[in-house]
Amino acid sequence: MRRIGVFVCHCGSNIAATVDVKKVVELALREPGVVHAEDYPYMCSEAGQSRIAQAIREKQLDGLVVCSCSPRMHEATFRKCAEKNGLNPYLVEIANIREHCSWIHKNMEEATQKAAILMRAAVAKVHLNAPLQAGTSKVTKRALVIGGGIAGIQTALDIAEAGFPVDIVEKEPSIGGRMSQLDKTFPTLDCSACILTPKMVDAASHENITLFTYSEVEKVSGFVGNFTVDIRKKARYVDMDKCTGCGVCQEKCPSKKSLNEFNRGLNTRSAIYTPFAQAIPNVPVIDATACIKMKTGKCGICEKFCQAGAIDYTQKDAIITREYGAIVVATGFDTIPLDKYGEYAYNESKDVITSLELERIMNAAGPTKGHLERLSDGKAPKEIVFIQCVGSRCSDRRGKPYCSKICCMYTAKHAMLIRDKYPDTKVTVFYIDVRTPGKNFDEFYRRAVEDYGVNYIKGQVGKVAPQPDGSLLVQGVDLLENKQILKKADMVVLATAIEPNKDVRKIATMLTASIDTNNFLTEAHPKLRPVESPTAGVFLSGVCQGPKDIPETVAQAGAAAVKVIGLLAKDSLTTNPCTAKSDELRCNGCSQCANVCPYGAISYETKLINDHGVREERRIAVVNSALCQGCGACTVTCPSGAMDLQGFSNRQIIAEVDAICR
């Protein structure tokens, strides 16, 4: 029989005020095997731990029960204490008499009784605890970054600088992401491309960074330190090694009617294209759905003109399998579709646009070469209305319940830039609240009002009505004046809500990373572990975790990189010893356990078994303890009862059940 010590913590008055700790000690001493029991105000303190150490030594304890706070709080503390004093850490059990008892019950008698039962269950369990040894698993010293926007680029650069190889997987033909589509950035108004392009070039030329553009993650298996990932390299139909990026193919391509995604569909592009001039890599792709050669077999003009001989219509998708120690998700965002917001006439009028479309219109490389024009008739707008919170802060079935965070600032930016460049154009902003927390942010917004005369109206817009003369009649409200307003405008810009990239759900499922109701990835702790996913080895960078602007994204990208570096710097990781184990004598090799194992940790081997003197070869299950995460699905599935989970064995749990129901 084990020699067990029971230690009851007062936690100041947190426990002792509701639980009669002396009584629990008294009852503990009546339990079989308990040779020592005591109480102390703070068991977790230095002094408390030394009392445990002393008891282990003096009473030769080989099992500990600590009645204290939740094991999520101090289990590790007491296990370390045991280990330091020569006891296997897995011979410690915690009875949670604070969160599950003293904090929720008021009646002292009831609480004491419950605490005693919880203690009893822990004692019963510890009798059956086996000393377990944590194993180790190796760490593959390479990281994967999914998404090549500013978040992904920054994370990759920081990891690469620390000396670890990083791969970036980007589904578009070029890295750059949303930031490459922006014209200027707030609050300094520097040109987005001017600050982003050097970073893109750095990423492409860094010896530790490998780019997989026009590629998508197809499959992920493994676990922290040991991920195996299949990457689908979509057929580009252009040989990346041969192409010189001269651009002749795009000029000559006769199929020029595809919507230009980079310009948000505001103009068209050729079937063979690079999304934008500074694209990295500067190698075009052929859009097979628009290419005449691919559709009809006739044409082949690009191939004829390509002096490098880079065009290859026969290219196929390729799957590349790589191993990684850590994965960073940086999948970014898109604007929400506006189909459900018919009152703004977005689908009815070409002159009602989203803010991201305005970015393209204002950009020198955009559809209007940077001239502010109405897309319907090319005229310069004289009166522009901005509408804030389109789809943001909508708890109805149409929009998103959260604040998109960036809209107040980019609208102030747009308003200011327009007033600066076109002083005779009037700008009105309908807003609910102006939210500008951030360094130099409110000052920026006030400049738009005070120096540039942007007219901010507190109130929403009910309807945008296109008029026969091509103008737009905006019906809104001024809440401060308590007046309904009818305003004739030439252009209406909608501050459209942002949402996580639509692929994120698929990626999160592959990574078993959790995702919230708005499809943002969940952090391991909202305050203390904001750049880690609850799934070990998966990290979050940028808007995939929640709306944020460029400086915040870059800061988070750096933080995620630090976490990755911290992981990759280790040679091996300690594994959870509470893994499944198969009893050779009972296993009949039926494979049912392997079917339910989410980690592929169970394999089969043929082994010579000595079953009570009968020697025969049998097919039996073997658990790879490095892969097993200890969920226990196999233990219940096993029809012969051969599979059991160390640390949570059938006998241990039944002992707990018995102790509680006694």
């Binding site: 226990g632 949570f648 059938n650 018995d658």
Partner: protein
């Protein structure tokens, strides 16, 4: 059978380590009370709960057994709670057939953030079991004199 108001049921709650146990901790740190009749057993995942454990509990005198796990789709081990749900559906219908009323068994999804839900669930479950009175169907006669 009229139920004695002072009678206290014995209730076993199996909670998965990642969501529901943390949810119970949150209920505790938020001081959301529920009856002391509930005793929690920590398991790594709801799929670790063998139907045998639940039969054993009823055999040894439990009046109600509740299994709490992560919400569907949120399982730390991705699919464990689906296995648990399937197994429990089968087990509970068998128990019902044996005379252990369906009100004495329950599966509930409680996330780590749902302290309120945890306490509400326990309150309503205890109330339900209390209304049903002591469970004697599976009592192990060998254990009682």
């Amino acid at each position: 059978m009229p139920v004695n108001e002072n009678w206290k049921p014995t209730i076993v709650a199996f909670c998965c380590n990642w969501c529901s146990y943390a949810g119970a901790d949150l209920a505790g740190s938020s001081r959301l009370s529920y009856p002391a009749d509930v005793k929690i057993i920590k398991v790594p995942c709801s799929c670790r709960v063998n139907p045998m454990f639940i039969l054993r509990a009823f055999e040894k005198g439990a009046d109600g057994v509740i299994l709490c796990g992560c919400h569907p789709g949120d399982c730390h081990y991705s699919t464990g709670n689906y296995y648990a749900r399937r197994r429990m559906t089968l087990l509970f219908s068998m128990l019902d057939y044996l005379g252990v009323e369906s009100g004495r068994t329950r599966v509930e999804w409680v996330s780590a953030a749902e302290g309120v839900k945890f306490s509400e669930t326990m309150n309503s479950f205890v109330e339900k079991v209390h209304g049903l009175g002591p469970c004697v169907r599976l009592g192990d006669l060998r254990c009682k004199k």
